[in-house]
């Protein structure tokens, strides 16, 4: 399986690991990779190939059409949804896998070159295909993207025009508070090129911004993008209306009684917990109360308008 997209000696490509028979049971793909590296280090032989090897492999594999895409604006229940999909029989969830995310990022960092754009589209399709092949034909594949993934929705839809997609979002104040409590990697964005693209600013501007402002501007953009690109193939859902069954129904999945039991028991557990023991506690009220005036002002300035578009179809 391709487990990361990297550059070795100036050559862009993929690192691969033997993941045969490994269940992708952790909330995030890279957590599974880390577990396998620790428990069965022999599976990671440090294999690196350039991208042409991926395309050669793609020639040999039947094409897998994902059953659904999960986009989100961060800290809004997407991991819970991914875990629900994972609880289905014969389902795999590719949750924010490095190889997928880094190829998506290249659309931004290498943007403007139509040949590269087509190439990255082909590579993205191939990497999802390679990750989705688990030795069975009846697998339902769900792909959960990182928050920045929504900014590439048009390109993703060009590759998979028929795959239904959900966009999960949450009140911007609660989202910013949550992201400040535990700052995610996407918000740090090492050289700031991704966030500059998303926020319509420059990397120098992003470097000057507080984390709160980066977050407010970014989620405002995520909301606006989802709203503008919504169509018959999309479901936009607020965290406070989150319903796994309605999402599965939207993905044309009718869970069995056993699957529903597994989903129900899983949804009582904190969704990002690898061990699956920390119980989920609703926290919207706490987050609202702990928000600073600055967070409220930034949310109002950069995210509330697009949020209201999602909620009411109009900016306020």
């Amino acid at each position: 399986m391709p487990v990361d997209a990297v550059v070795v000696d100036g050559r862009p490509g993929l690192t691969w690991m033997n993941m045969s028979g490994i269940e992708l049971k952790e909330p995030f793909f890279q957590q599974t990779v880390d577990r396998v590296r620790e428990q069965e280090p022999w599976r990671d032989a440090g294999l690196f190939t350039e991208f042409d090897a991926l395309l050669q492999l793609d020639q040999l594999l039947a094409r897998v059409e994902p059953a659904g895409f999960i986009f989100h604006s961060s800290r809004c229940g997407s991991t819970l949804v991914a875990n629900g999909c994972r609880a289905l029989d014969n389902a795999i969830v590719l949750s924010e896998a490095n190889a997928i995310e880094k190829l998506l990022a290249r659309f931004i960092t290498d943007g403007g070159d139509p040949v590269k754009e087509s190439l990255y589209s082909v590579l993205l399709r191939a990497v999802v295909n390679a990750l989705a092949h688990r030795g069975r034909d009846d697998v339902r594949v769900f792909v959960k993207f990182s928050p920045c993934g929504i900014s590439q929705l048009e390109r993703i839809r060009r590759i998979w025009p028929d795959v239904p997609w959900v966009f999960l979002y949450r009140d911007p104040v609660e989202t910013i508070v949550s992201n400040m409590t535990t700052v995610p990697a996407w918000l740090l964005d090492e050289d700031h090129r991704i966030l500059a693209h998303i926020t319509g600013t420059t990397p120098a501007d992003v470097a000057e911004m507080s984390l709160e402002e980066r977050c407010a501007r970014s989620i405002g953009n995520f909301f606006a993008t989802a709203h503008s690109l919504a169509n018959d193939n999309s479901l936009l859902l607020n965290y406070n209306q989150l319903s796994l069954t309605s999402i599965l129904d939207f993905f044309n999945v009718s869970p069995s009684a056993e699957e529903l039991d597994r989903i129900a028991s899983g949804s009582r557990i904190y969704s990002k917990e690898v061990a699956g023991v920390r119980e989920f506690v609703p926290d919207a009220e706490v987050k609202q109360k702990s928000a600073s005036d600055r967070v409220r002002q930034l949310a109002q300035q950069f995210a509330m308008g697009p949020y209201n578009l999602l909620e009411h179809g109009e900016g306020l």
Partner: protein, 90 residues
């Protein structure tokens, strides 16, 4: 030019994209080429062993183009494929 003497190189991987376009990868040089819909149609026809005349006839059936123009287009595309060493002799 008689394409029956030429065939897509075994060192080339082709992937279709976006309903007709394609990406070629030359495994020898690690170079990537984007093919438009017409070039992709020519490549696929070469894979089927068709001649220039047959490929041009296919084009006139699928597009509003005169046979002589289609023939010139096919020959130009084949020249490009050969320039980049993407074809081999049968």
């Amino acid at each position: 030019m008689n394409t029956t003497a030429l065939t897509p190189g075994k060192h080339v991987v082709v992937t279709d994209f976006d309903g007709g376009e394609g990406i070629l990868v030359d495994l020898n040089t690690k170079k990537y080429y984007q093919l438009n819909e017409t070039a992709m149609a020519v490549w696929k026809a070469l894979e089927q062993g068709k001649s220039v005349g047959e490929i041009a006839n296919d084009m006139t059936a699928n597009y509003e183009v005169a046979l002589d123009n289609a023939t010139r287009s096919v020959e130009r595309i084949l020249d490009n494929f050969q320039t980049y060493k993407l074809l081999t002799a049968r």
